[in-house]
């Protein structure tokens, strides 16, 4: 029967889906093409009466070969055990696809595909993989249900043949014994099971305690947990795998003045995470020797970073400065670095914990075992005085110099040429640390930044065409290559180039990584920071304790990149919104969210929850409006579209109800396909007639055929009976005669029904 025959196809689809899933999780197009092609070929080779299968010994040899290959793979990629495991399962599954497929083999294939998806989960938590996983779960549910029936059918048949004695005649072939509507009932039951299973699964997902047994087996820990959302405290220009254009939310930030009023900054916010001042000449930046102090921060209390009272409680009065800005950060993802504006003077966390403070660079980081950051506040003074910077002791003693090994004469010549072009002396004037030297440094940095902003340089994330040449047996420094030849790259290249130019003429400069915030949400009065806001820029020493920010990345390009002007970008906004929602609700669901959920469930009334829902809806509408630049008319459009959607849903429900009514009235359930559609379309007038007659007290008994009923009505209402007879004749021709009325004729029938209604209203029937 068709239900059981559909099982192999659906099972194969599920297997293909798991291959797509593992390829997506490992981000390997090659794997997808090779494994997908092999799997697809297996279908044509093994299925059908002429199917050929691999002999068992061949598949055993292949399994041994794959196992040996996996051992080699593990030795070559000791850091990617999960990837190796995924590939191993994948090849086992491919081999299995070429074997003879009994119901037991089908079971093995389903099990392997599930393992493949689990391995994929350990690799990635991307929305696209999540969608594949969701589709896999739904299809898998149906396939599993079908598998039960398919396996039972095969087992029953095999048992029956095995039970036959040697010399006996054969038993009849087994056909499944079923009741009526087996397919429809199976599908309905599967839908019910899926809905219940999903609901129950979500409940278990939400209540299962988080944090238990975390990282016990470190080798098998999910790489996704170490994921840094576009940001890293190290930069590797060559690998560049961290650069992302994802719009998944990382955090939201609010700026408050000293009175606690939120405000918008006139310029993009640059939130510092890490300061990198050591370059290895091969495209890798990191921090030089760290001088980290542990700072104990009590929950809810500002702790000072000032050198004279570090670790003590901080009061605004300590600074005697009215330009103190408080940065409120709410994390949406797990990030162990405290993001601040420059320079931070005090920090407060939502839970007591120890922070590692790098006083030289004024950066802060959580200790490794600390609980996840959720909310924190940092007090900063963007326009800090020299005195304050001195109190912060921000790197006063250190000096950043270019290593002679990294000196490139061409870059140096370029830097000197730029200085000459800007009318600045090539050699640093004055003594080191003198005001004259710092003024020159500031002007030179400006000159370099202008050069990098020039049209000669182009911002791009696509560096696939960048092939580093070799010089004297060594690969060329990517920063020099970017500056001198390629001139295309992303923010890290621009920032690195600027630092390189500065260092080549003796200016102290360093690379900073963090986030740039552009998007301000007026409703929540917060900046929303997404993964693609990860950014790198430059800090140049312009005074003994002052580091001035220079962002060499072309600002227009950056704004364009973050604004997203094209239609595709706007449409992508939806995907990104889902991605963000996916990240917030599923991927980043943790202990704190569990507690919040429990609190909101326990404390909030229905009214409060409704208010919360309305507020969230309003915010969402505002975001959509902004994303599509719709203006005030946008709310009208959205209301219009919402109204149409509601009307469409109502219409759909009415249509479905009518369809069910017609099927029940005219016993159409056993009529299939085109005939059923024709009758559903054409027999509406007769159903309307029956409803009209029922309202008039002339309900048609179920046992009575339509023609008899028409004659019976004649006794009570001869005028109505004339119309009923006409309608009944049309009903018979459609229902049993295969006739199809034209739209005009159908409209005429509807008019007759209206006429009938009028007749019955004018001359009520007295029974």
């Amino acid at each position: 029967m068709s239900l059981l025959r559909s099982f192999p196809k659906l099972s194969f689809t599920l297997v293909l889906l798991s291959i797509v899933g593992i390829a997506i999780s490992q981000r390997s197009i090659g794997l997808l093409l090779v494994a997908g092609a092999l799997a697809a070929i297996s279908w044509y080779l093994t299925e059908g009466p002429r199917g050929r299968w691999l002999p068992r010994w061949v598949s055993n040899v292949l399994v041994v070969g794959v196992s040996l290959n996996i051992i080699v793979d593990v030795m070559q990629n000791p850091d990617d055990v999960l990837g190796v495991l995924g590939r191993f399962i994948l090849w086992l599954m491919i081999i299995k696809l070429y074997e003879r497929r009994t119901s037991r083999d089908h079971g093995h294939l389903l099990g392997l595909s599930l393992l493949l998806m689990i391995t994929g989960c350990l690799h990635t938590v991307d929305l696209f993989f999540g969608i594949i996983l969701f589709v896999y779960a739904l299809l898998g549910l149906y396939v599993l249900v079908l598998f039960q029936l398919h396996a039972a059918h095969e087992k029953s048949r095999d048992e029956r043949f095995a039970a036959m004695p040697e010399h006996s005649t054969a038993a009849p072939l087994i056909k499944p014994i079923t009741g009526r509507y087996v397919g429809a009932q199976l599908r309905s039951l599967t839908v019910v099971v899926a809905v219940c299973g999903f609901a129950l699964g979500m409940v278990i997902f939400m209540v299962f305690p988080r944090g238990l047994g975390e990282g016990v087996v470190e080798m098998l820990s999910s790489p996704s947990q170490d994921r840094r959302p576009g940001y890293s405290d190290e930069v590797d220009l060559i690998s560049g795998g961290r650069i992302t254009d994802s719009r998944r939310g990382v955090m939201s930030v609010q700026l408050q003045d000293q009175e606690g009023r939120p405000f918008v900054s006139g310029e993009p916010l640059l939130l510092r995470g890490a300061v990198l001042d050591r370059y290895d000449g091969r495209g890798r930046w990191r921090s030089a020797s760290r001088t980290e102090d542990t700072l104990s921060v009590e929950a809810g209390r500002f702790t000072s970073l000032l050198s004279d009272n570090r670790g003590d409680a901080f009061e605004d009065e300590l600074l005697d400065d009215s330009r103190i800005v408080t940065v409120h950060v709410e994390m949406l993802q797990n990030l162990d670095t405290v993001m601040t504006l420059y320079p931070p003077v005090a920090v407060a966390m939502d839970a007591s914990q120890d922070l590692l403070v790098d006083q030289l660079r004024l950066t802060m980081q959580q200790q490794r075992s600390a609980p996840r950051l959720h909310r924190y506040r940092v007090k900063t003074v963007p326009l800090a005085s020299d005195e304050l910077l001195q109190r912060l002791d921000a790197g006063g003693q250190s000096r950043i110099r270019l290593s002679p090994r990294l000196r490139n004469s061409e870059v140096q010549a370029l830097a000197q040429q730029l200085l000459r072009d800007g009318g600045l002396p090539v050699d640093p004037p004055g003594e080191h640390g003198s005001a004259e030297r710092f003024e020159w440094s500031h002007a030179a940095a400006h000159q370099f930044m202008r050069y990098l902003h020039s049209p000669e340089f182009m911002y791009t994330l696509d560096l696939s065409g960048m092939v580093l040449p070799h010089e004297g047996g060594r690969q060329m420094d990517p920063v020099s290559y970017f500056l001198l030849e390629y001139q295309r790259g992303h923010c890290e290249y621009f920032a690195s180039a600027m630092v390189s130019l500065c260092l080549h003429v003796g200016i102290e400069a360093r690379l900073v990584t963090g986030f740039v915030a552009y998007e301000y949400d007026g409703a929540t009065q917060r900046y929303t920071i997404v993964e693609s806001n990860a950014h790198a820029w430059t800090e140049v020493r312009t005074e003994k304790h002052r580091w001035t920010v220079f962002d060499p990345t072309p600002p227009a390009t950056l704004r364009e990149l973050h604004a997203g002007g094209s239609v595709a970008d706007r449409l992508r906004w939806f995907y990104d919104s889902f991605d963000g929602m996916w990240g917030r609700t599923i991927v980043d669901f943790d202990r704190t969210r569990q507690a919040q959920l429990a609190d909101s469930g326990a404390n909030a009334t229905i009214g409060q929850q409704a208010n919360e829902f309305v507020r969230a809806l309003r915010n969402w509408m505002e975001r959509v409006n902004r994303a599509f630049y719709l203006g005030p008319a946008g709310y009208f459009y959205m209301a219009f579209i919402g109204g149409i959607l509601v009307l469409a849903i109502i219409a759909l429900i009415k249509l479905m109800r009518r369809s069910l009514l017609l099927k029940r009235l005219f016993n159409l359930r056993h009529v299939r396909g085109r005939d059923q559609r024709r009758m559903l379309k054409q027999l509406g007038f007769y159903a309307d007639m029956l409803v009209t007659l029922r309202r008039a007290g002339l309900a048609k008994p179920h046992w009575q055929p339509p023609l008899l009923y028409a004659k019976a009505v004649q006794l009570q209402s001869p005028e109505a009976a004339t119309i009923i007879e006409k309608l009944t004749a049309a009903f018979y021709s459609i229902r049993y005669g295969g006739a199809e009325l034209s739209p005009k004729e159908l409209a005429q029938k509807q008019r007759q029904v209206t006429e009938l209604e009028a007749v019955l209203r004018s001359r009520p029937v007295h029974l």
């Binding site: 999540g130 048992e159 004695p165 040697e166 014994i177 079923t178 087996v182 599967t190 099971v193 599923i586």
Partner: protein, 409 residues
């Protein structure tokens, strides 16, 4: 009705997988794995709930198969009713439970099961299990169990229904050599004969006056015209050939003359007795289909004498008597059997081991004595209960190779 949940290997594997996913999720704190874990857990709960709800509404009734025959498929049908208003039932397996009693069916045949794929709400469907009886006797069915692993194969839920029934398994039938019956019946009594009684035959018996309800076709018009009253022709009663079968089971099994010295003869005493019974059944069956009236006496056992009749039900009566013979029961060598000395019927005496004259046969020297040991030489091949079906299958042989198996000659 007894309801039970069972854990089975696929279920244990599923639990193992769930545990592994839980450990992996805890180790990695990966929320997708937590979600998969939630889905797997909900699978366990839903599997138990669905199968439990499904089975709670199902009622089963075993339909009496009447009889079975050794070597022939015995179809046992089950009526399954789903009393639920909304919930359909899927993947229902039906099996007879073996019991530790002497009369259990499991001594006579290997187990068989039935599978019903679907029962709609408020529907009744019929499942069927095909048993292949290996021995004759009385098969007693006590309990039937239905079980399902639907929807996910994790938890097995079973319901056991108690319904006591017994079915007789007839002995194995063999197609006998065609000359056997001719040899049994003396030449003088061969062919269709009439008796000196009026009956329903075709031969003329006499005339009598017309009575109400006489067929108009039986009126002798010529004689009626002569006598001026309606006169009917009476036909004589037919007298088919008769055959009496005596199964000699007077000698206890352990006293049977089994010849262990003969290397080719590895038959035990019990096997010889079974062969004798099978031979008796085959003779009765062949004789019945050849139009004989059959009578049967089982000497030495407490089996009532079966009189001379010819009908399908009479044959079934003989078969039932042969099927119910309990060879473990005490033998009665002094049993009084009716005298058949003057009977005008062929006589076959079937012995398990060796032909020894029975006192009841008196002077019937024409009696044919055959033994269970001779079965192989007398029988052509095993045969089904229903000759028509067997012949049709023979005719179809080769045309549907998947449905046919080569019959051992």
């Amino acid at each position: 009705m007894k309801r039970r949940y069972h854990l089975h290997i696929p279920g244990l594997a599923y639990f193992g997988l769930t545990l592994v996913v839980a450990l992996a999720a805890m180790n990695s704190q990966n929320n997708l794995l937590f979600w998969i874990f939630g889905a797997l857990c909900s699978g366990i709960v839903i599997s138990g709930l669905i199968s439990g709800l499904m089975m709670i509404h199902i009622r089963l009734k075993r339909l009496d198969p009447q009889f079975g025959a050794v070597g022939e498929p015995m179809l046992i049908r089950y009526a399954l009713v789903n009393r639920s208003r909304f919930l359909p039932a899927f993947n229902i397996h039906i099996e007879e439970r073996a019991v530790e009693k002497g009369l259990g069916w499991q001594k006579l045949m290997p187990p068989a099961s039935s599978w019903v794929m679907h029962i709609g709400p408020r529907e009744t469907v019929h499942g069927e299990a095909i048993f292949w009886p290996m021995r004759r006797g009385k098969a007693c069915f006590f309990q039937t169990r239905i079980w399902t692993t639907f929807p996910f194969g994790i938890i097995k839920k079973s319901v056991t229904f108690s319904q006591q029934q017994h079915t007789l398994i007839y002995p194995q039938l063999h197609e006998l050599r065609p000359d056997l019956l001719r040899a049994v019946s003396p030449p003088s009594v061969m062919g269709m004969r009439t008796t000196e009684r009026p009956g329903s035959g075709e031969e003329y018996f006499g005339l009598r006056e017309h009575r109400d309800n006489d067929s108009i076709r039986s009126i002798s018009w010529k004689r009626s015209a002569q006598l001026d009253q309606f006169v009917c022709i009476e036909r004589s009663s037919p007298s088919p050939p008769k055959l009496r079968i005596i199964v000699n089971l007077t000698v206890p099994t352990d006293q049977l003359k089994v010849d262990p010295g003969n290397g080719n003869d590895e038959l035990t005493g019990r096997e010889l007795e079974e062969r004798a019974i099978s031979l008796a059944a085959s003779v009765a069956h062949s004789a019945h289909h050849a139009g004989y009236e059959i009578s049967m006496i089982v000497a030495g056992m407490d089996v009532p004498v079966i009189g001379m009749r010819h009908s399908y039900w009479h044959l079934r009566k003989i078969m039932a008597a042969l099927a119910s013979i309990d060879l473990d029961a005490a033998r009665d060598s002094g049993q009084q059997l009716p005298s058949i000395d003057a009977e005008r019927a062929g006589l076959v005496v079937i012995h398990p081991d060796r032909a020894e004259p029975l006192p009841e046969t008196g002077g019937r020297t024409e009696a044919m004595h055959i033994t269970g040991r001779q079965l192989d030489s007398i029988a052509i091949r095993p045969m089904g209960w229903d000759l028509h079906v067997a012949h049709r299958r023979d005719a179809e042989k080769g045309q549907h190779p998947t449905r046919q198996k080569v019959v051992a000659a």
